[in-house]
């Protein structure tokens, strides 16, 4: 009974909120003209790409990882995606040509893959590493391993702020080189076997998102309200699958300052006909009572079972925890990293430019960190391609993956 009521109510709400949304858009455009609500300026069209192209205050310190993400976010519209896919096909083929040359560069290769907006950075790294094997002219396993190691080191040092890149490289090397069978074969067949494994690993990583989406379906019930933070491709996939399964649910999106990721996500969701409501980042506690669950992605899952994610996740998890709402994390297993931050400052800082829209006096400091660490006690479950895990199992899986 209750359930039915709830469902109808949601349905009503859904229709209602769609209307609301339209109204809101008008409001927003109105606000935008007023100076006070200039914070909202990244709401509509392409401002995102704008932000990334604006001159940085300190170009060296900027996290490349977040740059990539920002670039992806700016263009993530589905139609653009198709175009990009087509465009990227070319460098792909040229890459294999490149492989034959002596001057093979992992970074170039990686950047080639990275441009594919639908490809996670770790998967791009995995593809790039596979290309390293393909292009390698080593004649012994030892040489090949050293080459791989070098390649992964350059990749890692290229962007130290990206957790999934580091984790992806490490896992790849583990996965590929830890086969006892390799020792008994001649080098060429061993190499092809390595390639095979590399391809397989890349495939597994690609499928991860689908698996997670399937796993999480049991947790999204009809009539529920989901709060999401940040633009995570996994979370989007989860919600998309849920919508395809005809689940009735409502999504609250945080705005996601400064790159407006929430706005982008709400655009995507509204295209899928999912009722969605935008919140200010600071309105999370205000609207937490109508939320049934919090869904976030992760930049990295660390050994303690906590996650490193876009700034604001910790805050939301704290609020949700204090109101007894479950916090679910969707993260592929290649984001599992052998890191163990003790507190927020115990990580390599990932900085990004922040636009305040008004001139900020030079004396005023700006916190530009792009991410925070959410300790495991505030998380309920992690949806990964290894299964639905409680935070304390992460360390178990990590030990098994890396040992």
């Amino acid at each position: 009974m209750d359930f039915l009521e709830r469902a109808t109510e949601t349905h009503l709400r859904r229709i209602f909120s769609r209307k609301q949304l339209k109204r809101k858009k008008n409001l927003k455009s109105m606000w935008r003209r007023s100076a006070s609500f200039i914070l909202d300026r990244s709401s509509n069209s392409p401002p995102m790409a704008d932000t990334t192209q604006t001159p940085f205050q300190n170009p060296d310190a900027i996290s490349a990882y977040y740059q990539t993400r920002a670039a992806h976010h700016g263009v993530i519209t589905s139609d653009w995606l198709a175009q990009a896919q087509a465009a990227v096909e070319q460098p792909d083929s040229s890459v294999s040509d490149l492989g034959a040359e002596r001057s093979f560069n992992v970074i170039d290769e990686f950047n080639g893959w990275r441009k594919q907006p639908d490809l996670a950075e770790a998967v791009a790294a995995i593809r790039a590493m596979a290309a390293v094997i393909r292009a390698s002219e080593a004649t012994t396993m030892m040489e090949l391993e050293i080459e791989l190691k070098k390649a992964s080191d350059t990749l890692k040092s290229w962007d130290k702020t990206s957790i999934s890149l580091t984790a992806g490289c490490d896992l790849f090397i583990r996965y590929v080189t830890r086969t006892s069978a390799l020792e008994y074969e001649d080098f060429n067949s061993a190499k092809s076997r390595l390639l095979e494994r590399a391809e397989k690993f890349g495939e597994i990583s690609c499928k991860a998102r689908k698996i997670i989406a399937m796993l999480s379906q049991d947790f999204i019930f009809d009539g529920c309200t989901v709060l999401v933070h940040g633009l995570s491709r996994v979370v989007l996939e989860v919600l998309k699958t849920a919508a395809q399964n005809n689940k009735l649910f409502r999504v609250l999106c945080t705005e996601g300052r400064p790159d407006g990721t929430g706005v982008l996500l709400s655009n995507e969701l509204s295209k899928l006909d999912i009722p969605v409501k935008l919140l200010l980042d600071s309105a999370v506690a205000y609207s937490m009572d109508e939320v049934d669950m919090v869904f976030v992605g992760a930049d990295g899952v660390v050994e303690s079972g906590g996650i490193i994610n876009m700034m604001g996740t910790y805050q939301i998890a704290l609020v949700a925890h204090s109101m007894n709402k479950p916090v679910y994390v969707a993260a592929e297993s290649y984001k599992f990293a052998r890191l163990y931050p003790l507190d927020q400052k115990d990580m390599a800082p990932a900085l990004r430019p922040i636009e305040f829209g008004v001139k900020i006096p030079a004396k005023v400091e700006v916190e530009r960190s792009a991410r925070d660490y959410t300790p495991p006690q505030y998380l309920t479950l992690l949806f990964t391609d290894l299964g639905v895990l409680s935070p304390s199992v992460v360390s178990d899986e990590l030990i098994q993956l890396y040992l």
């Binding site: 050994e303 003790l342 115990d346 360390s395």
Partner: protein, 630 residues
Amino acid sequence: MESRRNPRAVVDPKVRQVGFFTSSQPDSTHQPDPIASESHPVASSISPSGNSLSPVMIPPPRHNSSDTFPLRAAAAAASAVSPSSFSYSTRRDFPDGSMTASPGRVSRASFSKPSSSLPGVGMDSMAAAKSSSVPASGLTTVSVVNMPPGLSEKESDQKKNSKPLKEKTTKAERRALQEAQRAAKAAAKAEGGKAPLVSSGSVASTNVKAAKPAKPSSQKNDVAVAAPGPSEKKGGQTEKDRKKDAPHPRMQYDDESRVVKAKRRAVVKQTEAKNRVELFRHLPQYEHGTQLPDLETKFFQLDPMHPAVYKVGLQYLSGDISGGNARCIAMLQAFQEVVKDYSTPSEKTLNRDMTAKISSYVSFLIECRPLSVSMGNAIRFVKNRIAKLPITLSESEAKAALQSDIERFINEKIIMADTVIVKHAVTKIRDGDVLLTYGSPTAVEMVLLHAHELKKKFRVLVVDSRPKLEGQLLLRRLIKRGINCTYTHINAVSYIMHEVTKVFLGASSVLSNGTVYSRVGTACVAMVASAFRVPVLVCCEAYKFHERVQLDSICSNELGDPNAISKVHGREDINYLDGLTNNANLQFLNLMYDATPSDYISMIITDYGMVPPTSVPVIVREYQKEHSLV
């Protein structure tokens, strides 16, 4: 955590009560058991002094007893030392006070007179006693409660004399009574057999009889509660007891028969300390300083003991070797010597004979000092290697293989593990950190020195505690390297904690529920740190992990020399306790270890990397897998 501690403090008296019963029932020669059990409800309702005695109040009776029995105490000889005599006495004087509640007892009459007249006098003394004992914490209250046993221990001598007689009579009576009971209802009989409560109404002898059958069950409970180890171990215990004469590593020292048995075969003759604290009676406590000369003279008589093992044992005994790693390495090196000098006796196989030999050595080492978990794991490794030696190997080959195995264990599991831990831990030290450490953990020392070598800028706070003052040693070594240090005692830890950014601790063992078993005081430091939201990092090699689960520091612990806390070295003016050390009213509790619950620990750094305390079982599992493969 808190929820666990608080109720305990409140319930304390009840816990005590239970303890009395279990320990006393087996040996009860008198009738007081039933009274004791009855006393509480009755005391409040029936007795003349009932209105003044709250049902929970156990301390008052004790004072009554001590007040009312001074004569007897003086008259009695001051011998009664065996643990069993404690249990008599505990039970004895406890009911004494509550005798008021049971006026109808025949043999009681003589005792109960003085105590029933107590309300006036007794209350005064009680109040006085209360004022002295109230400020103490949970632990100390326990020890305070014990005082009467110690005191009445002497009184109970008197009872002891009468004990053999009584037992004879009871044996006869028991049969008659059993028959009588059989006639009674089955249910009532069962109850009568189990709980002295029921039979309390009858004659004194009945109670004795009733208490006896209760003995085995209560004892079993004791063991089950106190030693929640794997069942596999327990099975080994009985087997060992029968065959190999090796005392179980976690023998219950309040079990009289076992202690006697163990004493008979002991090499080291230790005099047991007289006044032991109630909660810690299951642990061995000896008077220090008595055994060493005795053992040294025995050196040439002990032909089965290998000199290397003997030497290590003596070093344990005198405290020359301390610290988990040092002890373990010393033991393993002694075993290497043993293996080197070993030759298989005729008509025996190396695998079996060597295992038996090692077992006997281990039992000797246990007599010198209880094993640490790390040593237990190392012994398990050695025995496992011996058992797995292929029979096809010749003796010399087998010996060489064993020696290299032990060598490898030392290198891989201890020395290499430490370097790996250092490598991990150093990444957590940043410039400007203020690191706190407690005691003198070797792993942490290596971490600090290495971080200093890497030119990290940090400050170290060494927190220390009496009586060992191990921190001073650490301090000396750190200062020599030019590290900026602050030294303080644990009393100041709550003051100093606000400036600390990270706490590094060592551990004697990490148990599979994440509990860290370490030098006493560690739990205190960890709790203060977590209250101040300072991350607590524990450095511990994986070979010290154990699959056991421990919830408190009571059931498995080690008692140190009580003299160490009764005297302050180098301070002649602090002599308040001079001449009181043998006082029956005074008990010293010098605990060696405590258990830190996993809630207070942010991270455990092991040779497998940095893991949260929740994944200790994973490490234990992986470690054992590796072990079985190796």
